[in-house]
């Protein structure tokens, strides 16, 4: 069953007509080929129209689609030889962040990502993709390991935020994220970060300091979710669409503001509409980026990385 967004009503209607036409053709043996072809063309046009003109809030919705590929899906389809590594060597294994060595084509890489769940049970197991401090500490452990063996790092960002809770605070959520920001800025190996779904605040940035920070076309990245922003600034949850526009959280906005390095195109209708195509694009992009970054020495990488983040900000000077 396909789930349609509220802004896909026209596509849903056309899809239903198409299904009926196909069934009718099957049963009655009437040649409906021209009608079917016509409908398919209409659907394609409609999709192009809708997806060529998405609002911020619509992209937020797409980024959360339950059928969207998650980190482990990319790991399974773009990489080979993945060996998952668990635990922060201190408290426990956080299930909201996964990671381990893998191969991308001929290149060994350390791949780390936020992991969400698809059904209720999985969602709880993965804590909705909201890491605790030990998740960030596991990620840092793996990154330092990659650095030790001169292996490039790929991080896949997809989180509604770092976990807010008693244990997270007791174990230093703030310190864990802060430490990652500092350490990632001086990693001696290439670091590529890709926002594959939701990029919410410090919880996302905690694995997001890289030489190349990319966003998939239908993802969002900001300091707060549109819902929370709405509830704080408008004192109601009803203004999330307005908040999404105000936050300028789409990939296009982020690129325009110089806060990311590039956008990865998604298949028409979003990554979930054609995962195979999405995996192919992702693999090609990552391979290209790693090849490019491998040309630089570690000193160069670090200087450029720090320079890039140091240049982020908007202010006047008199």
């Amino acid at each position: 069953m396909t789930t349609y967004f509220d802004f896909e009503k026209s596509i849903q209607e056309l899809d239903e007509q198409l299904q009926k036409a196909k069934q009718l053709a099957e049963k009655s043996k009437i040649d409906l080929a021209p009608t079917i072809k016509d409908l398919e063309e209409k659907i394609l046009l409609e999709k192009k129209k809708i997806y060529g003109n998405l609002t911020g809030w619509q992209r937020v919705q797409i980024s959360r689609h339950a059928d969207r590929p998650y980190a482990l899906d990319y790991i399974e389809h773009c990489f080979t030889d993945f060996i998952e590594q668990h635990g922060d060597r201190n408290v426990k294994d956080d299930k909201a962040i996964v990671g381990g060595l893998a191969r991308l084509g001929n290149q060994s890489v350390m791949v780390i990502g936020h992991q969400k769940g698809r059904n209720t049970k999985q969602r709880q197991f993965r804590n909705f993709g909201m890491p605790n401090p030990e998740g960030y500490r596991k990620a840092l452990r793996l990154m330092k390991l990659a650095e030790k063996f001169n292996i490039p790092i790929v991080t896949l960002i997809d989180t509604p935020g770092a976990s807010p809770g008693l244990e997270a605070e007791e174990r230093g959520q703030g310190e864990a994220i802060a430490k990652n920001l500092l350490e990632m800025s001086v990693l001696k190996v290439p670091v590529i970060c890709v926002v594959i779904g939701e990029g919410a605040s410090g919880g996302a940035l905690g694995i997001g300091v890289g030489d190349k920070v990319l966003m998939l076309e239908n993802t969002w990245y900001s300091v707060i979710s549109p819902e929370s922003c709405s509830s704080i600034l408008w004192r109601s949850w009803d203004h999330k669409a307005k908040a999404a526009e105000a936050l300028k959280l789409t990939a296009t906005d982020m690129l325009q503001n110089g806060l990311i390095d590039g956008i990865i195109a998604e298949p028409l209708g979003g990554a979930h509409n054609n995962p195979e195509e999405m995996y192919a694009t992702m693999k090609e992009t990552l391979t290209q980026q790693i090849e490019e970054l491998k040309k630089f020495g570690s000193e160069d990488l670090i200087n450029k990385r720090i320079e890039k983040f140091s240049g982020m900000g908007a202010f006047e000077e008199v």
Binding site: A162, P164, G165, L166, A168, E169, E170, R171, G172, Q173, G174, E175, I177, A178, K179, L181, L182, E183, S185, V186, S201, G202, L205, G206, G208, V209, Y221, S222, V223, I224, C229, I232, L233, W234, A243, A246, L247, K248, L249, M254, N257, L259, R305, I306, F309, S310, M312, G313, A314, F315, E316, E317, V318
Partner: protein, 290 residues
């Protein structure tokens, strides 16, 4: 080690305008409600002598408390906020900024200055909570980054005094990236072997906690401050329970290992002097054998 070189005196320094407290004015403690002379309250570093409540004060007060004779040089005062996203909620960000600037007399939520603290040079970047909740926008990030650069260039230790609700939503992702920017700069400061001190005061939450505030070589807290990543309201709503007493307090953080020590504001200056001299392997002049 050469970072303890003295700041050149008498060249660029200027006295912080000392807030004159009119005679006979009284200050009523917001916690224990006891009244004392405002001048006594000021002399006691804005701490209530009865219940030890630490009043929420800003950069002017901290500079006056910390720098010897109140003498310091303000740094990067020309950096001013803009409205990069033309953000508007119930109010335009532009008008919000203008209003806050008018009300507070400040340009944004942080000021940086350098001078001597108990005879030891220090760069201090201090937040002003009365400017949009001490929220972190591009100006705060840039000033902290430059304060760190200044510390590296002049080999002077750097301290950030945090008092902030976290990110400034009206600067959205620009605000978020200040976390990465300041943390990256701290990595460079660390590489140069220059000390970084983080003073956590009430309140320190959100993106500030998840970056430079938790990265001190020394994380120092004022007593009974609220310090945390997620705000108490958010946590309460998430877990659906009341929070335990003292949760996210300075004392809680000390107990869980995230703060080196807690110091009352009245002892802050002498404690900093002691710490900086230990780091510089330099005895106090009065104690030096002649």
């Amino acid at each position: 080690m050469s970072w303890f070189k003295r700041v050149k005196e008498g060249i660029t320094t200027s006295t912080e305008d000392k807030k004159a407290v009119p005679d006979g004015l009284w200050h009523k403690c917001p916690r224990c409600k006891k009244a004392i002379l405002a001048s006594d309250h000021q002399a006691n570093c804005y701490v209530c002598p009865s219940c030890k409540y630490h009043d929420k004060v800003g950069s002017a007060e901290y500079f006056e408390i910390l720098f010897d004779d109140g003498i310091c040089e303000e740094l990067f005062a020309g950096i001013k906020p803009t409205d990069p996203l033309t953000f508007s909620d119930t109010k335009d960000y532009k008008s919000r900024l203008a209003e806050s600037q008018k009300k507070s007399g400040l340009t944004d939520a942080l000021r940086a200055a350098t001078g001597n603290v108990d005879g030891m040079p220090l760069v201090v970047a201090c937040m002003d909570f009365n400017f949009i909740g001490g929220s972190m926008g591009s100006v705060m990030g840039e000033k902290i980054a430059r304060a760190i650069d200044y510390g590296r260039e002049h080999k002077i230790p750097v301290m950030v005094i945090s008092k902030s609700g976290g990110a400034r939503m009206m600067e959205a992702a620009f605000s978020l990236m200040q976390m990465a920017k300041t943390s990256a700069k701290l990595a460079l400061l660390a590489k140069d072997g220059i000390p970084y001190i983080s003073l956590l005061t009430d309140p320190t939450t959100g993106g500030v906690t998840a970056s430079f505030a938790m990265l001190g070589d020394f994380n120092i807290a004022e007593p009974e401050a609220l310090i945390g990543f997620a705000g108490p309201r958010v946590i309460r709503e998430t877990i659906g329970k009341d929070l335990p007493k003292g949760f996210q307090s300075s004392e809680f953080l000390l107990e869980h290992g995230f703060v080196d020590f807690i110091t009352p504001r009245t002892e802050l200056k002498s404690k900093l002097g002691q710490l900086l001299r230990l780091l510089a392997n330099k005895p106090k002049e009065s104690e030096q054998a002649s």
